[in-house]
């Protein structure tokens, strides 16, 4: 009977810091601890005492790859508190901005972080040597997403043009139309990406996920929709906290989210697609049918295909939104002049899954309390289950093989810690 402990102290290619510790006893995963050091906790304290108008820009700083998600969840939560409704062209522009973020975030993960796993390279740079056109496609797609962020958000990383009630400035139609050639090309590249991803070799794994995502009556969800799960949950999104709780685990600074009275669940592309595959725009739906993608994908390795589908739908949606755009009369809806103390919550679909924000505002317009539950903390417990199954299925692997396999399994979910290809340090204990 061999006991082994594999400790990976620092995950590279990650947003923030993460580590992994595995303890095997008798060929079974005894302890699986994915540890994430998460900045959002500090942000919640930082927000207290600041004007509610600052929340979108402050929380955008939580992540350099999905700042729009933070801005959107913050805006929707605060608008719910203030009784503001953002509709028409302003709503469309928000969806367009979110499309830009999905495109750039997913393209980065698909091509620069995930594809090397399937094509057998340690990283995208060495992959580029043999797969030049593939990497070029990824960079072009990412830049198409960035172009939306730059035009509409004011700059490509940490956009500065979003505010409660809408935008500081909205573009005239002709300015937005300058994006069309880039996005038409991106749509073609995205379709090629779907076909490329669906042809990759996948390990045969099926996980019994409980999927959680937003669901909207008409569209693939980004900014709006009800909270739904594959186990039958249906809940207004602002009541997120009734169904989900965060628990402390002793080995991590981060809280892990769970279903109340239940277990781990999965958010992100696999969940969104499983719960919204009937909401695809027409061109994307046709390609999904052509490649024969099943409506519910439970193989985490195949998330690369679903992510590619979401890139394509985001390109298709972006083009539709620009073509239908007529500038609003004003760049934003005004908040009420007199503030009564209020609270509001909202969930939007970040590239990596649902992102919850809740705020309490005082009569003075200052934030009294804030709560943020990012997608990565929600997926953390479920990723640990993936790792547990992986270890138990093949306990005969060497430490090196096991480490590599675990890294891959983590990357499947593109957690904000996941952009890692390598664990820098590996410690092995053998009993």
């Amino acid at each position: 009977m061999t006991d082994r402990t594999i400790a990976v102290d620092y995950l590279a290619r990650v947003e923030g810091e993460g580590s992994l510790r595995l303890r095997l006893e008798g060929g079974k995963a005894k302890e699986v601890e994915l540890r994430i050091f998460e900045p959002p906790r500090f942000f919640e304290a930082l927000l207290r005492g600041r004007s509610y108008l600052e929340a979108p820009d402050i929380t955008a700083r939580i992540c350099g790859i999905c700042p729009v998600a933070y801005q959107m969840s913050a805006c929707h939560a605060l608008e719910r508190a203030l009784g503001l409704r953002v509709v028409g062209p302003l709503r469309d522009l928000r969806r367009l901005l979110y499309c830009g973020e999905w495109i750039e975030s997913h393209a980065l993960h698909i091509y620069l972080l995930h594809a090397p796993d399937f094509l057998g390279y340690p990283d995208a740079i060495r992959m580029a040597k043999d797969h030049r056109a593939t990497v070029e496609t990824g960079l072009a797609l990412k830049q198409a997403g960035n172009a939306i962020l730059e035009l509409l958000g004011g700059r490509e990383i940490h956009p500065i043009n979003v505010r409660v009630g809408g935008f500081y400035r909205v573009p005239p139609r002709e300015e937005l139309e300058t994006l069309l050639p880039t996005l038409e090309a991106a749509l073609g590249a995205a379709e090629r990406t779907v076909r490329f991803a669906s042809g990759l070799p996948f390990p045969r794994v099926e996980e019994a996920y409980e999927f959680v995502a937003l669901r909207h009556p008409e569209e693939y969800p980004m900014n709006e929709g009800e909270l739904v799960s594959s186990e039958g949950l249906v809940l207004p999104q602002e009541r997120f906290e009734e169904a989900f709780e965060e628990v402390q685990v002793p080995y991590s600074h981060a809280l892990q989210a769970r279903r109340r009275g239940g277990g781990a669940y999965l958010v992100g592309p696999l969940a969104r697609f499983a719960l919204n595959h009937d909401r695809l725009p027409p061109k994307t739906r046709r390609v999904v049918e052509e490649i024969g993608l099943e409506p519910v994908v439970r193989n985490p390795y195949r998330s690369i295909v679903v992510r590619a589908v979401e890139v394509m739908l985001a390109c298709e949606e972006a083009i539709r939104l620009i073509r239908g755009y007529a500038p609003p009369e004003r760049p934003h809806v005004d908040p009420p002049g007199e503030l009564a103390g209020a609270s509001g919550a909202a969930v939007t679909e970040a590239p990596r899954g649902i992102l919850f924000h809740r705020y309490e505002i005082g009569n003075d317009g200052l934030i009294r309390a804030a709560r943020i539950v990012p997608p990565t903390s929600q997926n953390q417990a479920r990723i640990e289950e993936d790792l547990r199954h992986l270890v138990d299925a093949r306990p005969d692997r060497t430490d090196r093989e096991l480490t590599d396999a675990c890294e891959r399994a983590i990357r499947n979910h593109d957690p904000c810690i996941s952009c890692a290809t390598h664990f820098l340090r590996l410690e092995v204990e053998r009993a």
Binding site: P122, I125, I157, C419
Partner: protein, 169 residues
């Protein structure tokens, strides 16, 4: 008749984060260069997403990058690499979610065949990378020297490169 000044001019790109102390020194250099009279080059503050360098420098005969580096040398030390040397800089972490590090980007550009015909990288040894917009005095003190060297580089009279240890850029 095409005007000769429509030909692509050399491009100087300052890299760095404004609010990360000495990391913003590359930006200070290009801002200082803007005050040079009749500099026959275009001068820009670089993109936060370095993968955009490929398009930004496309078609340029000469590209000069300026960035803060950390090698253990005294702060303010200036190092120069030409394109070939620059693509062999150690890459540190392979990738972050924010994109590619500069050495990674240069490796990638080389593999993709998208390096400019002439590429020069000036690194300025930094001391402090914490939050803040102030630069350390000795790092700030390197700006005039780097500007002079860039002007000579553009004029086709590079100062003789000094071999230095490979910094961990």
């Amino acid at each position: 008749m095409p005007r000769t000044d429509a030909l692509p001019r050399p491009l100087v790109i300052g890299l760095g984060a404004e609010a990360r102390s000495d990391d913003g020194i590359g930006l200070d250099v290009v801002r200082a260069l803007r005050t040079e009279p009749a500099l026959p080059a275009e001068v820009v503050e670089g993109p936060a997403d370095l993968s955009r360098l490929l398009d930004l420098w496309s078609g340029r005969p000469l590209v000069i990058l300026v960035d803060a580096v950390r090698s253990g040398a005294p702060p303010g030390t200036v190092v120069r690499w030409d394109g070939g040397e620059a693509t062999r800089l150690p890459s540190g972490l392979a990738l972050s979610t924010h994109g590619l590090s500069l050495p990674d980007m240069l490796h990638l550009a080389a593999f993709l065949g998208r390096l400019p015909p002439r590429l020069v990288v000036f690194g300025i040894e930094a001391r402090e990378f914490g939050p803040g917009t102030d630069r350390s005095p000795e790092v700030r003190g390197a700006v005039p020297d780097v500007c002079r060297r860039i002007v000579r580089e553009i004029a086709g009279r590079p100062a003789r490169p000094r071999p230095e240890g490979s910094p961990h850029a």
